[in-house]
């Protein structure tokens, strides 16, 4: 199915994903050129969300592979169902089958445990494959991904090469815990998602937390933008901003003064150092207006 740039922008809008030309174009190209899209950026800027929204736009399944230290092919691609094979062997033996027949049996697709990558390749319809935090995986695994990402095929020694019937839309995300190889970068389109600007963040808050007063939303966005610039250990992510906005609603905050900021700060900041740092500056950071005594 051909998809147009406009469909992507509309889809993103409908999925309440506030975005810009850069993100839209990158997603559109990933689909148009059938290339994997590598998304980098700070934690909590909405990288993984792109894949979820994309699956929503395409009305298809999202297959997610969470990468971690020590992830190997058996976990990512396939594994032979060893116990099932043994049972089958015993059953066949009793029927007196010859070895050729037997080995044909046990190395067939029935005995294959499909892991996310194989599932994405063999799926009859186009799916969205999210390879999350690919920087956490080992370098060997990254090298293994290369074949998959350039040709959308994998080799299973006993079965031969399996080629994708419908090329999945692949999204890779990275937090730069380690530098990815040039070879991987070359095969992907690249998108860098930074924290949103104040204006964009205000829109996000208004869309996702409509209960919050518009004026307060703008102030909250400005406040979060300001504390991200303080060089914190863990700057607040968008999700945390939204949690905070919801907290403000539940607390019935009307004006974002110093006290209001202090009460719900734990939602926004997850390190004690960060908290003290922001609290010490709360009076200057909070919107200037003090609450009417």
């Amino acid at each position: 199915m051909q998809i147009t740039h406009e469909q992507i922008s509309d889809g993103l809008k409908r999925a309440l994903y506030v975005t810009n030309e850069r993100v839209e174009t990158a997603i559109f190209l990933a689909l148009a050129l059938e290339k994997p899209l590598l998304i980098e950026g700070p934690a909590g800027a909405g990288k993984t969300e792109v894949a979820k929204v994309l699956a929503e736009i395409l009305h298809t399944e999202l297959i997610r592979l969470q990468c971690y230290e020590g992830l190997d092919e058996a976990r990512a691609l396939y594994e032979w169902n060893y116990q099932k094979q043994l049972l089958r062997m015993q059953a066949d033996e009793q029927q007196g089958l010859r070895w050729e027949e037997l080995s044909e049996h046990i190395f067939s697709r029935d005995f294959l445990l499909e892991r996310p990558l194989l599932r994405a390749i063999t799926s009859p319809s186009r799916v969205v494959l999210l390879i999350d935090e690919v920087d956490k995986a080992d370098e060997e695994f990254e090298a293994f991904l290369l074949e998959l990402l350039s040709d959308f095929q994998v080799s299973v020694p006993e079965l031969g090469t399996l080629k994708a019937r419908e090329r999945p839309a692949v999204i890779l995300t990275s937090n730069r815990a380690r530098e990815l190889s040039e070879a991987l970068r070359r095969r992907c389109l690249h998108l860098f998602i930074d924290f949103p600007g104040t204006e964009q963040e205000r829109k996000i808050i208004e869309l996702k937390v409509p209960e919050l007063d518009a004026k307060l939303a703008a102030e909250a966005a400005r406040f979060v933008g300001a504390i991200r610039k303080l060089g914190l250990r863990k700057p607040p992510s968008i999700a945390e901003t939204l949690d905070w906005a919801r907290a403000l609603v539940r607390l019935g905050v009307r004006e974002l003064d110093t006290d209001a900021v202090r009460t719900a700060l734990g939602v926004l900041l997850k390190h004690e150092d960060d908290r003290t740092k922001v609290e010490s500056k709360a009076s200057t950071l909070a919107p200037r207006r003090k609450s009417a005594t």
């Binding site: 740039h5 030309e21 850069r22 839209e24 174009t25 990158a26 559109f28 190209l29 148009a32 050129l33 290339k35 899209l37 590598l38 980098e40 950026g41 700070p42 800027a45 230290e69 020590g70 116990q83 043994l86 015993q90 080992d138 730069r176 815990a177 380690r178 040039e182 970068r185 070359r186 095969r187 992907c188 389109l189 690249h190 998108l191 860098f192 930074d194 924290f195 949103p196 600007g197 104040t198 963040e201 933008g225 991200r228 610039k229």
Partner: protein, 422 residues
Amino acid sequence: MARLRDQLVNFIAALRDAGVRISVSESIDAMNAVAAVGLERARMHEALAAALIKDEADRATFDEAFNRFFAAPRNRRGEHPDQRGDQVSAAAGRGRPGEDPSPRDDAPPQKSEWPRDGVASDRDEKSSPSEEAKPARTTMAAHRDDAEGKDAERDSDKMRGREERRESDSRGESPTQGIEAARVARMRGIERRPFDNFSDLDYDEARDALAPLIRRFRIRLGRRLRLAKTGRIDFRRTIRAAMQRGGALIDLNFRARRPRHVDLVILADISGSVRYAAQLMLELMAGARGCFRRVSSFVYVDHLAEADFEQGHLVMTPALDLHARSDFGRVLGELWQRRTGLLTRSTIVVVMGDGRNNRLPARADVVREISRACRAVVWLNPEDPARWGTGDSAIKQYAREVKLLVPARNLRELQVALATIA
């Protein structure tokens, strides 16, 4: 369309000249990308960026080049009545030399290292002197196949990008946007800066960048040293387990691996020329201490001294005179005297130094003895390999006796080198 293609090829060539690495397949992607999104300027801009720029640190270079090659229509208003309003004036300026000066005059004074017409049909023209930083670029370009020159060029580009970014930060444009990108660019800059032109300021910055590096390094090292849980299959135990299930091999049993211990002895030269490299290495290794059974750190100039890190500061006992003449031969002798309990079959000795010995006896024979007594001696040299063995460098003599001699000219190389020792 052919003209647009030429323009894109020239654009990519200009990016390559500016030190952005672009492969052939990526340039094909770029063409396809433009074909897919069309010529609307903003979209084409982002499409080319997605296809060509794989590192946010290169983005500033890209944006600058894009603005130069595909000028915004308003700059050329009135000059090309044939140009449709919304479209990119692709191939502008090509073969129309008379129209070139316009953007230079009415465009806001931007910082640009390239001549503004920029169409690379006249790439030779680049050598004409016009703006700052250009002479360096052209001389570099002359030795382009010289990998090192390329690196230096890249570095200087990175640094320039960094400075520009800082400027834009301080100007207060785009409040939150780009903070993370700037941080990443800064980190990458410092990782690639060669140790031999480090300043105290650079050292402080490198130390700030060290925390994530230590974490990454520890993970990598840990993985190397971690035992695979299972070794070879244990046939007897497997069969025995199968007996209970009527002979079906349901559970496999494996032989346990023998634990592997590594003791580390670090010798780091902290005399003037290489002290930044040495200190950063000691700090990295101090962070990864848990990966080894025992780590003994020493620093030396003309003597050996035990080194330790206390709250981020290097403490040595006894104190060394940092301005003494380096004498690695004597240091080796002192280490050899202390060998009992220190140098064993499970010890790896890591030496960080340039092997410049002020023409004093090199004592490579002691290194050979140490190599025999230990599991391995690994030498990290912060000097450029081209200079190894020149002047008073005795590194070639030592090279014969050690298991591995690797360059560690910047933080990046240092990490790679350290990861190979285990």
